[in-house]
């Protein structure tokens, strides 16, 4: 019987991931603001309405913006952590619901990394670890961090799992 002593320390997301998320949220809401502006303009100028309901839209957008821009990136960065525990990937995450997931690395089927221009500028990348039952997202990892993790998981890809009986 093997005890579940951690073989390494918890890895956290870099602070830069918060900046990256805020930038992308910022861009997203800039577009929303423009859309709302155009809609209001059209309604006043050409449809001769006095659209009081746009205030409601603006209020909702503002509230969502506050949540997504100020609080969520920070909470995500604060609570997200992962480590490789012997041959298991252990991830803790969650905004409203706290989840703690343990997956054997031999079960991993695909490692998917992606990074857009915003992430690349800050030397970050997203990583998706797929198993036959779903996927684990690791958003906004540091590039060196991600490379180390990927190499670790890859080293298990060539190993054989117990009991794979063919039909």
């Amino acid at each position: 019987m093997q005890s579940n002593h951690p073989t390494e320390n918890w890895q956290h997301l870099p602070r830069a991931s918060v900046t990256a998320e805020r930038q992308s949220v910022g861009i997203q809401y800039t577009i929303y603001t423009l859309l709302v502006g155009v809609a209001t303009f059209v309604q006043i100028k050409w449809l001769d309405l006095s659209p009081w309901w746009m205030w409601i839209v603006v209020a909702i957008l503002l509230m969502l913006f506050l949540l997504q821009f100020v609080y969520i990136p920070d909470i995500r960065q604060r609570y997200f952590k992962y480590r490789v525990d012997d041959e298991f990937l252990v991830v803790e995450f969650g905004i409203l619901v706290l989840r703690h997931v343990v997956t054997p690395l031999v079960k991993v089927q695909i490692i998917d990394t992606s990074s857009g221009p915003l992430l690349r500028r800050l030397d970050l990348m997203n990583m998706n670890v797929h198993t036959a039952s779903g996927q684990i997202e690791l958003p906004g990892l540091d590039v060196t961090q991600a490379t180390i993790l990927r190499r670790k998981i890859e080293s298990f890809a060539k190993l054989e799992e117990q009991e794979e009986e063919s039909l």
Binding site: D86, V102, A132, E161, E163, E165
Partner: protein, 489 residues
């Protein structure tokens, strides 16, 4: 061996294509009849279209080939856009043989091969093969031989009697299935009786409340009987065979389904006992298998087994699983958080209902609906006694998780089949030191129960986090978990 499916495949595809063209053709013919009998050109048009469909059927049959060798199964198809699909044999999770009514009449079947890819569709689908040939193929793929085994010794078999199916259907409490069937029939019939419906409805409004209740009861009863019938049609002549560690499960009176899988591919065993079945000491067994059949990856194993017989049954057919009583109970302080949302939901529903009743009902029976509120304490008591039975446990290589509020559901999963073990808890309850366990199985089967404590979670992880790697044969003497062949980055 590279082969084609049976030529009757042409007829099948032609018929399915013609079926989708029935309405336009009928419209054209009807239009013609209204004018001056069949036009010559209409006949020619219909004939040409039928011919094109037939030729397309023949050509697509010609290009539809499959090859089975020792390693893999390959399917080639497509006339203009060719596709080739290769499936590794050891990736196969299960093989299914399905027959719908048309196929049964023609003596054909559809063979499906399932792997763990997450597309949701079967990896290989051979439409229109002869039934006996499909069975041969199945055994060919199954035994790994390139030539079909001629004589197969029959292993252990069990069937479920009609009586058991009848009871299982009657006590399954699954009104939903019947409602779906009822809805389908209604939609079909509706177009013929539409004008009468409103008339009937007007008549109904004048009847007394008692009569309305009787009619409502009769309709419910009919739906109930219908649900039993649907259940029997679906699972009738149930038959399972175990042969050299391979299990075959077949069922269905109208559409026949047969699924074959290796015992080791069973992801989990689920024992469901709803509150009625528990009174009769019976249970419902199903398996988590990757297959295109069954509902949500759950395959029926036995709909109405005597609880006392389960041990013997498992020993005979699935020796890897054994029934064990999970010992670790859910923590008491978690109960409130489990029950608060359902209770609140039911309470508000009843309040709305009562508001409506008080508004609509005549003076004398205005407050009749308040009786319904008795349901709330009843639910609370049932849930309370059920929560005591929400448990987990593990023994050797088997993890057991039981969830019970009103109905009891127990899942048995071998450690090596659990793809992810996780806990979850709402941020607001984190400080209460309670959390739910969740196990994830291949093919997105998720099962969770709670609440347990953090310490228990860590304890289970200690059991779960043993090695998943195959021990290397030469190093048989050493402890396989000392990590010497793990850390080679």
């Amino acid at each position: 061996m590279t082969r084609r499916v049976h030529p009757l495949f042409i007829l099948m595809t032609t018929l399915t294509h013609l079926r989708s063209l029935v309405i336009p053709i009928a419209v054209i013919l009807f239009n013609d009849l209204k004018n001056d009998g069949f036009g010559f050109y209409t006949m020619i048009g219909v004939a040409v279209v039928s011919l094109i469909i037939l030729i397309f059927g023949i050509v697509s049959w010609y290009f539809y080939t499959f090859t089975i060798d020792e390693q893999s199964i390959r399917v080639n198809k497509g006339v203009f856009r060719k596709s080739e699909r290769t499936t590794q044999r050891q990736r196969i999770e299960s093989i299914g043989i399905n027959q719908n009514v048309l196929e049964r009449l023609l003596g054909l079947a559809t063979l499906t091969v399932e792997t763990a890819s997450d597309s949701g569709k079967p990896e290989v689908e051979l439409k229109g093969v002869r039934l006996d040939f499909a069975k041969q193929l199945k055994s060919t793929i199954g035994t790994g031989a390139t030539q079909p085994a001629l004589e197969q010794e029959v292993g252990e078999t069990y069937t479920v009697s009609l009586m058991d199916l009848l009871f299982a259907g009657a006590l399954s409490g699954r009104l939903g299935l019947a409602l779906v069937g009822f809805g389908a029939v209604y939609q079909f019939v509706n177009r013929f009786i539409e004008q009468y419906i409103s008339q009937v409805f007007n008549e109904l409004l004048h009847l007394s409340l008692l009569l309305l209740l009787v009619i409502g009861g009769a309709v419910l009863f009919l739906i109930y009987v219908g649900s039993i019938l649907v259940f029997i049609l679906r699972y009738g002549s149930f038959r399972a065979t175990l042969n050299k560690r391979r299990m075959t499960i077949g069922y269905g009176l109208v559409n026949r389904t047969e699924v074959v899988f290796h015992q080791d591919k069973v992801q989990a065993l689920v024992i469901e006992e709803n509150w009625i079945k528990r009174r009769f000491k019976r249970a419902h067994l199903s398996l988590h298998i990757i297959s295109a059949n069954g509902e949500e990856e759950k395959l029926l194993l036995h709909p109405f087994i005597r609880v006392a017989d389960i041990d013997r049954f498992l020993h005979r057919f699935l020796p890897r699983f054994e029934q064990l009583i999970p010992e670790k109970r859910a923590v008491d302080r978690g109960f409130f958080y489990i029950v608060r949302w359902p209770l609140l939901g039911y309470a508000s529903l009843l309040t709305v209902l009562n508001g409506a009743l008080i508004y609509w009902l005549p003076e004398s029976i205005r407050y009749l609906g308040l009786i319904l509120f008795l349901f709330l304490p009843l639910y609370y008591i049932l849930a309370r006694s059920g929560y005591k039975n929400t448990r987990y446990g593990y023994q050797n290589d088997l993890f057991v998780l039981r969830k019970e509020l009103v109905n009891r559901e127990t899942i048995y999963a071998p450690r090596l089949k659990i793809e992810a073990f996780s806990s979850q808890v709402s941020r607001f309850l984190e400080e209460k030191d309670i959390l739910k366990f969740q196990i994830t199985l291949r093919g997105s089967g998720v099962f969770q129960a709670g609440y347990f404590t953090q310490a228990e979670f860590v304890e289970v992880l200690g059991w779960y986090q043993q090695t998943f790697l195959k021990p290397i044969p030469p190093a048989a003497g050493t402890d396989p978990s000392d990590g010497e062949y793990v850390e080679e980055t």
